[in-house]
């Protein structure tokens, strides 16, 4: 089963658009990434630029509205993710517990929805979904 571990770094919601990560923290994180890889559980990973470099498109009365970051109302913002393949939810949690995070930082562990979990009509409506994944 696949899980996504979403990283919510402390203060990322107010980070500067070009804020470079700390080299020592990156080195620690690389060690963790390598541990995931060596254990054969890592499928993919990415980091995201701070929300201040992004926008939110919100919808109201059928109209999209674009707001530049940072987002005053946001308390937590995703900073990146790991996609892992493990034997159980508990194993995903164990891996999350090992991440080199600081105080008040969060990793949210979410299972990936598999097509087989859906009823037949939803599967039919989603035909072609897998084809769209992984295309670059």
């Amino acid at each position: 089963m696949r899980f996504m571990m979403l990283v919510i770094p402390k203060g990322y919601e107010t980070a500067q658009p070009n804020q470079a990560p700390d080299a020592a923290a990156v080195a620690k994180m690389m060690k963790y990434n390598e541990d995931l890889s060596k254990a054969g559980v890592l499928l993919s990973l990415d980091g995201l630029k701070p929300p201040s470099a992004g926008v939110r498109v919100s919808f109201s009365a059928g109209k999209p509205k674009v707001t530049d970051g940072p987002f005053a109302e946001a308390k937590e913002c995703v900073g990146g993710y790991w996609m892992i393949q493990v034997k159980s939810k508990e194993e995903a949690i164990e891996w999350a517990k090992r991440a080199p995070m600081g105080d008040n930082e969060i990793i949210e562990v979410r299972q990936v929805q598999e097509m087989e979990d859906f009823p037949a009509d939803v599967q039919a409506a989603a035909a072609g979904f897998e084809e769209l994944q992984g295309r670059k």
Binding site: K38, G40, V86, K87, M115, E130, K136
Partner: protein
């Protein structure tokens, strides 16, 4: 709110930690059987203590500390006069003291070589194939005896006995705990790759009604393949096997129909193939080919699988390339099954006569006498040549040989279509 079940947490920690634990203990004790016993002792302690005290902050180091303590007790209790054992006991004690401030480093940093030694030992050719498979799942994939029994439709007692016997064989034959070198390396690596691919295929052959432990074997094998690729990054065939497994696994949801019936490669809805696994497979293949221009058997098979993976529709398949890859495979790993597959590729690339030329010499081959695909492939080629009577006879023969009910129905249907054609 449901709190996570502690026994499931312990199980998860075990899956992550036990291979490293056993690998490091086997180096210290020079005895894989004893190493596994000590690790099991540590697991028993965890099952007693963690539900009361909670999971320790560094569970791997905790388990290692307990296992080492048990190991030292074991050697003291036996009051061994044998010099070697004395030395091992001393070494463990020394390590215990040295490592006390930082078990974590001791476990993590030099465990790679130990893991590689453990893989080569569990897959040692002195063991029977099924013993190698069982030991690999137990020692390196962290599966319990019960899980292995369920996956192989066997009983726990049988699996338990197989493990005991395998450990005894390793001890009796004084199998050194080491990574082989020189010319021996290739043979031994071949055995390791064979075991991992057997585990994968066991999972891949699971059918709809099976216990979920069976298809899960595919993921166990992929995981072992990825671990091995990290431990032996310069071995092209390791990446070749990983590529083959990732690409095959990418089709796992597309190859079974809604009623559990198998769907053949060319009939699969390719939109359902998992593109992430395909990408991973293609990059592992590229790595294998970069490491050595002359492809080994797993790399060639991965290259064939990659041809299918790259074709967005079945009719876009590059059959000429597949035919030439089968020529390559037939040279380095000749077998009647490879010939049969080669005939299919030739039939698609150069026309049914060319396919038939390769099939004909296989008739009467004892290896294929019960193999439904031989008459099945021949029937398809004859059908395309409009030799309907012969095609019909071959479809019927294939239907008689297959053990799969839905496949039989399909073959009978094709036999009937010969009549009307």
């Amino acid at each position: 709110m449901d709190s996570p079940d502690i026994s499931k947490t312990i199980d998860a920690v075990w899956k992550i930690e036990s291979p490293k634990l056993i690998a490091a203990l086997a180096r210290m004790t020079r005895d894989v059987g004893l190493a596994e016993d000590l690790a099991q002792d540590a697991l028993v302690s965890a099952l007693e203590q963690w539900p009361k005290d909670g999971v320790p902050r560094n569970p791997g180091a905790w388990l290692m500390a307990i296992a080492k303590r048990r190991g030292i007790d074991h050697f003291r209790r036996n009051k061994l006069v044998d010099h070697k054992h004395e030395q091992v006991g001393y070494e463990m004690q020394a390590r215990q003291e040295d490592a006390a401030p930082d078990f974590d480093a001791a476990l993590d940093d030099d465990v790679g070589d130990d893991l590689l030694r453990l893989i080569f030992t569990a897959c040692h050719p002195v063991l029977s194939t099924e013993a190698r498979v069982t030991l690999t799942l137990k020692l390196l994939a962290g599966l319990t005896t019960e899980e292995i029994a369920r996956a192989f439709l066997s009983t726990e007692t049988t699996i338990q006995q197989r493990i005991v016997r395998a450990k005894r064989t390793l001890a009796d034959k004084k199998i050194a705990y080491e990574v082989p070198s020189g010319p021996e390396l290739n043979v031994r690596l071949g055995s390791v790759l064979e075991v991992i691919y057997l585990i994968f295929n066991e999972g891949y052959s699971a059918t709809a009604g099976d216990d979920w432990m069976r298809p899960a074997l595919c993921e166990d094998a992929q995981r072992l393949g990825r671990v091995l690729a990290g431990l032996a990054p310069n071995e092209p065939e390791v990446h070749g096997l990983l590529a083959l497994m990732e690409i095959q696994a990418s089709r796992s949801t597309a190859r079974i129909g809604p009623k559990g019936e198998p769907i053949l490669l060319l009939d699969q809805d390719r939109r359902r193939w998992n593109q992430l696994l395909i990408q991973r497979g293609l990059s592992a293949l590229a790595r294998a080919e970069r490491l050595r221009a002359a492809r080994g058997p797993y790399t060639v098979q991965a290259a064939i699988a990659a041809c299918h993976a790259r074709a967005r529709q079945a009719d876009q398949t590059d059959w000429q390339r597949i035919a030439s890859l089968y020529d390559e495979l037939a040279t380095i790993m000749p077998s009647p099954i490879v010939e049969l597959n080669r005939s299919v590729a030739y039939g698609m690339a150069f026309g049914p006569e060319k396919g038939l030329e390769i099939v004909e010499p296989l008739l009467g081959n004892p290896v294929l006498s019960e193999y439904p695909y031989l008459p099945g492939v021949r029937a398809d080629l004859l059908f395309k040549l409009k030799r309907f009577d012969e095609a019909k006879a071959e479809f019927l023969k294939a239907a008689e040989l297959t053990k799969n009910a839905s496949q039989r129905a399909l073959l009978l249907e094709k036999a009937n279509s010969c009549q009307s054609a």
